[in-house]
Symmetry: C2
Subunit: 236 residues, 2 copies
Amino acid sequence: MKRAIVMLSGGLDSATVLAIARSEGYTVSALSFDYGQRHKDELAAAARVAEHQGVTDHRVVRIDLSAIGGSSLTDPSLAVPTHAPTEIGRGPIPTTYVPARNTVFLSIALGLAEATGARDLFFGANALDYSGYPDCRPEFVAAFEALANVATRDAVEKGARFKVHAPLIALTKAEIITRGTALGVDYGMTHSCYAPIAANACGRCDSCVLRARGFVDAGVPDPTVYADVDGSNGKR
Amino acid sequence: MKRAIVMLSGGLDSATVLAIARSEGYTVSALSFDYGQRHKDELAAAARVAEHQGVTDHRVVRIDLSAIGGSSLTDPSLAVPTHAPTEIGRGPIPTTYVPARNTVFLSIALGLAEATGARDLFFGANALDYSGYPDCRPEFVAAFEALANVATRDAVEKGARFKVHAPLIALTKAEIITRGTALGVDYGMTHSCYAPIAANACGRCDSCVLRARGFVDAGVPDPTVYADVDGSNGKR
């Protein structure tokens, strides 16, 4: 039995990664984080996605990154920025970057891998249609994998090799959606918005903009429920 | 102003590291973790040590590693092992190893460093008088530092270089005690025991054995309060 840990935020990317890992024959432990994010709605989405994809081991680890702050995702006093679609990923890294977040998350995934005998970690990083986050790039994935293979008892004593899979890292959002749709992912269950309004997507944050454009480019109907912020009934 | 993050467990090693960082002129944020450890008494020690050494920014981040398990420090159903003094660090890595623990802790320290503008992380790893933990070795420290310098916005955008200091890594426990004593560390405030009995040291776990031997070898009176487990009033 091949075991894997899949980091499952509840968003579009991680739901696709989960389907990829399962299609490759892994028995999956899904791992989500309640880290003080303002878009905690994603955790309900993660639970829905895990259940829909037949995952029986879904863990939510709480870690209060708001004690650290420094991000508009964990500090309510900072506004979530918006950008024109063509600007996303081209300017400075936005305040939605959470300091060292993916390093923290992968570290905990590594601990769970060691505790459960898994050697494979799956991670929905994407370095194409993204906001330029440093911890979504191939250099980061490679450096974490190198660390994992000196940091752990299983690596030192058993010669285990941990592998960090980032199967989306070079795909466009449209390619991700096409891939996931073929694998049966129900994107209506997922949540990507950074700044949800009554659990519905704002349609304006970078994450919403990238996601919406992905559905258009993929030619797949967008199942996202948008908040009716401007009386347009979510159409914009 | 030079800012540093010091990981402060409340044990002998980290109390010494804190004194070293302060002696080098750093303004310190001390960081402790409430991670589901059975020896939570160390957190009270961390608070005492931070206050005694004049640290005004001491943060305790909660993260429930018992959701991961795999260690006798986080799973109450596993016993904390004991070894003869000469066996410690020579056999298999004991169950007191917490999967990926120091990777998780350093990751959070890195996030705090980025959020506070610090570039220096201090870590009480020791690879001499220790239990053979993989994440206390120089290879681990180097790999984490390499990761930090690709994982973060400050590294990517500002060319910042993060440095992981492990000033105790090649010292014996006696050398650590000698150094800390010279810097004014009050070891009576620290807590090292993995399996305390009513907040007092058991005197038998690996951590107690290494510590007690360190005081003897350093010729420094041992201020540790041992539990009176066998009617010997803590003398053994």
